[in-house]
Amino acid sequence: MQKIRLRYTKRGRLRFASHRDVARAFERALRRAGVPMAYSQGFNPKPKVSWVGATPTGVASEAEYVEISVVRELPTELLRQELNNALPPGLDVLEAVGVPVGAGGGSLPDRIEAGEWRIEVPGVTEDQLAVAVEKLLAADRVEVERLTKDGKRTIDARAAVVSAAVTRTSEKQDCLAAQDAQPATQRHECPGLAGPYGILTVVVRQTSPAVRPDDVLNALCAVASLELPAPARATRLAQGRLDESSGKAGFGGLVDPLAADRVTASPIGQGSEPENGAGCDTSS
């Protein structure tokens, strides 16, 4: 038996899929690709697939992680390609790393402490957004309401925010250029540079209850009396442990959760180098 950890994306239209939708699509792809999965014992055997903290419905991601168990050792790059052939476009496996037997470094959930999100806010200028970010970071506590299945609940959206910064225009040009290179099925409508269009990057610690991009946005609106004229769009760019050595979290402030396995894994198990998430949310 071998454990394999995968990093995959949830891009374009696929961002509207819920975690359950993604899990179903993934498990079906494993069967279609003929992956010799290990199954749980018992009356109702299930393939061994361990999910780590899912993105909310409507949020895209460049850095989702999952661990699968197979009954015999597989070349991981080949597995990655076969799996991508079976997955719907948008769910793209970027990297597959075999977990060496007896490897240290902790379990996958142990290696994920925070997430980095890019939030695009059409209709809001960079300066407006920058003012709001400043106010948010200056506050100790910002309460927002969230609708859960048990009714409304109030959570503090500030404490979990490790860092927040506004992306400036020059970087947005790159984003749009990256968009144009995408096939139509994966491209989302790019609002263009005609109107105001703020982009924000935040690093949020995983807490319970989880603070989501929506909560951060609501907090920004609350502290700066912002109104959002159009729905914002969020993308998870990276996940990992906060890098204590860098002192200040931000870009590069998260430790790649697969790094520890990659060092010790055999070279054939190496997937292609993943993106660092600097592009637009649909870039590959």
């Binding site: 239209r13 696929l14 509207f16 899929a17 819920s18 359950r20 939708d21 179903r24 699509a25 498990e27 079906r28 792809a29 494993l30 069967r31 279609r32 690709a33 003929g34 992956v35 010799p36 999965m37 290990a38 199954y39 009356f43 109702n44 055997p45 393939p47 419905t57 409507g58 009954v71 597989l74 080949l78 597995l79 076969e82 079976a86 719907p88 476009p89 948008g90 099925t185 989302h188 409508e189 159009a230 729905p231």
Partner: protein, 654 residues
């Protein structure tokens, strides 16, 4: 001319609606084609929510059959929930297909599959949202031909005003023939406009164009006086279509697998079509005759293709009564052997008690979950089961159930109907005694206390083209009262009653379904009024409003001299012209009437699959015949090598 996708306008609305994934398309095995490279374009609609409509086999089959023709395009569209519909109106986004998000109005044909009559208001909503006039007479050459199919199309009269055409019966061959006629007409430059294309379709005898028939009613009793073609080239009767060799039509080959969760999370393979058991309430069994079995090899090939193309963990062996397939035993064993160790479950969604045996159940559950067993005695008393021709004895049921509990099952579900012709309170109370016996015998057989029995009860709705088409429908008050008494009886013995679950709906939606099922053209105004007043998704209890339907009936029917009870709780007369008499299902009306009299006389009718022909009329009228195995000892070929946990062997990973 090209047609633009509306996705760019739709996408900003999606974060604001529930379950947005149902609107984005991208199903596995969906087909996308360039618009301008095709000559005939179909939008196929299932007029209910995506989660219900996506798994529909009819739509899936026609979608694939049409898209296999190089110059034909087929896309799918479903009913949009009110949250998105409101935003679409606000932002000028029309009803779209989920494949390429093209506006439905741009297609040549809008084919709508009606499994039930409760989708009628959703048809009007979709037409309106598409920008297509809801009345067929107001449509122009720029509008699609609105074409109905599915079981409800065997009486499309209530929606006659909204339809351009309807097809009765199997669609595989019909859609291709219709496509050819449209292709030729377009190539000629659309001579004669809409009237001419509809006339060309109608003159084949297999497409019903309601506006080419005049229906007159009598003032004296409200009954139909006459139905007649109102122009040349139009036949008096329209016949149903029957696809004979199912092995020649192995669809769907590439089942659509959605991202969204749907009501059937499995691959489905139709093992035969038609049913001659002769249950008198069952419209499906009457209108899909004769029985046509798929061969064991054909089934085996379809199952493997479906599993490879879908990744599903379960295969449903579909038909109206799957355990009746003449080779079901060999089939189940062959499949269980073949998929041993691959975590692939097999299910028979509809089984009869008398055709079922435990060996079959064990084979079916060998490689997958052992879910509950479901049986449908339909009637609580032996007397009532004779009336409806459901030839199941309580002894058969108890024997089967005991054996199931002995073999490790812990739960059975029993389906019944309430409000059947001649039914009394006592017939319904027998359901309670049957359920009590199931628990008693189940405990004995299993040696456990925790066995369960769920009784699920639906209101009976008399349907066109059945021996019960003349029957008076039971009023909702009587049904609700009988169900109340039944519940009390179930719980009269607490030690048994606590292991019995009871599921039912009140009788009101059934009455409206009855109104729509046996309605005529006068019902169109009622449907339109209900829709204009906000009626939608009538199959969903949270959206259905009985009062809205009743109010609309009062407003629209009473000025025409009829009312709800005239359509529902009134027993029809022998020689009354029924609204669907000119639509030919092959069944002789005289035979149906004789079978109705037999029902009242508690006389049973055998199945012609095993016993001689009883002259229902279908085979000679439609030039068809029953097709039943055996396929001469042919067996399923095992697959090797087997990859653990999956039915798919990928050479790259071995």
């Amino acid at each position: 001319m090209t047609v633009e996708s509306v996705f760019a306008q739709l996408e900003p609305l999606l974060p604001r609606v529930s379950k947005p994934v149902q609107y984005v398309g991208g199903e596995l095995n969906a087909t996308l084609k360039p618009w301008e490279e095709t000559n005939v374009r179909w939008a196929l609609m299932y007029p209910d929510a995506y989660e219900v409509g996506l798994p529909n086999q009819g739509i899936m089959i026609l979608y694939e059959v049409l898209n296999e023709v190089p110059d034909v395009l087929a896309e799918r569209t479903y009913a949009v929930w009110p949250d998105l519909a409101a935003l679409m109106r606000e932002n000028g986004v029309p009803q779209f297909t989920v494949d390429a998000h093209r506006p439905v109005k741009a297609f040549d044909v809008l084919g709508v599959s009606f499994a039930s009559e409760l989708g009628y208001t959703n048809l009007l909503a979709a037409l309106d949202l598409a920008g297509i006039p809801i009345h067929a007479k107001d449509r122009t050459i720029d509008d699609p031909i609105v074409l109905a199919g599915g079981h409800a199309a065997f009486n499309p009269e209530p929606i006659a005003d909204f339809l351009d055409a309807a097809v009765l019966g199997d669609g595989e061959e019909a859609v291709l023939e219709i496509t050819d006629i449209i292709r030729d007409w377009k190539a000629e430059g659309c001579p004669g406009g809409r009237d001419e294309i509809l006339t060309r379709l109608a003159e084949t005898g297999g497409v019903y164009v309601p506006r080419f028939y005049d229906v007159t009613f009598r003032d004296s009793d409200g009954q139909i006086d006459s139905v007649s073609p109102n122009r040349e080239r139009i036949p008096d009767r329209v016949f149903k279509r029957t696809t004979m060799d199912l092995d020649a039509w192995p669809y769907p080959k590439q089942p659509l697998v959605p991202l969204a969760e749907t009501v059937h999370e499995r691959a489905s393979v139709e093992i035969f079509r038609g049913c001659t058991r002769g249950c008198r309430f069952c419209q499906a069994g009457m209108i899909t005759r004769p029985v046509r079995e798929r061969s064991i090899e054909g089934i085996g090939a379809m199952i493997q293709t479906s599993l490879e193309a879908s990744g599903y963990e379960e295969v449903g062996l579909l038909s109206l009564s799957s355990a009746d397939h003449s080779e079901i035993g060999e089939l189940a064993k062959g499949l269980a052997d073949r998929y041993e160790g691959t975590n692939t479950g097999l299910s028979l969604p509809s089984t009869r008690v008398d055709a079922f045996n435990i060996d079959l159940a064990n084979e079916l559950s060998r490689n997958g979950r052992r879910s509950g067993l479901t049986f449908a005695p339909e009637g609580g008393s032996a007397r009532l089961r004779k009336v409806i021709n459901k030839q199941v004895s309580e002894e058969d049921l108890i024997r089967t159930v005991s054996a199931s509990f002995e073999a490790g099952w812990r739960q059975v579900k029993l389906y019944f109907m309430c409000g059947l012709p001649t039914e009394t309170d006592d017939d319904v109370l027998q359901i309670a005694y049957m359920a009590h016996n199931v628990i008693r015998e189940g405990r004995k057989a299993s040696g456990r206390k925790d066995v369960r029995c769920t009784i699920s009860i639906g209101g009976f709705v008399p349907k066109p083209h059945t021996p019960f088409q003349w029957a008076a429908q039971c009023d909702p008050e009587t049904i609700d009262e009988r169900l109340r008494k039944l519940r009390a009886e179930v719980n009269s013995d607490k030690s048994l009653g606590r292991n019995i679950g009871m599921r039912y709906h009140d009788g009101k939606p059934s009455l409206i379904e009855g109104l729509l099922s046996r309605g005529d053209r006068r019902i169109g105004r009622v449907i339109e009024r209900v829709w204009r007043e906000g009626g939608l998704f009538d199959g969903w209890s949270e959206h259905f409003s009985y009062q809205r339907w009743i109010d609309a009936c009062v407003a629209e029917l009473e000025p025409q001299g009829v009312n709800v009870s005239w359509y529902t709780t009134r027993e029809r007369e022998e020689h009354e012209i029924l609204p669907w008499d000119h639509l030919d299902s092959g069944l002789e009306k005289e035979w149906l009437w004789a079978d109705w009299l037999d029902a009242l006389d508690e006389q049973e009718q055998d199945d012609c699959r095993w016993t001689p022909c009883f002259d229902c009329g279908v085979c000679p009228a439609m030039n068809t015949d029953i097709q039943v195995g055996p396929t001469n000892g042919k067996v399923l070929i095992p697959i090797t090598p087997v990859t653990p946990g999956t039915p798919v062997t990928n050479p790259a990973l071995t």
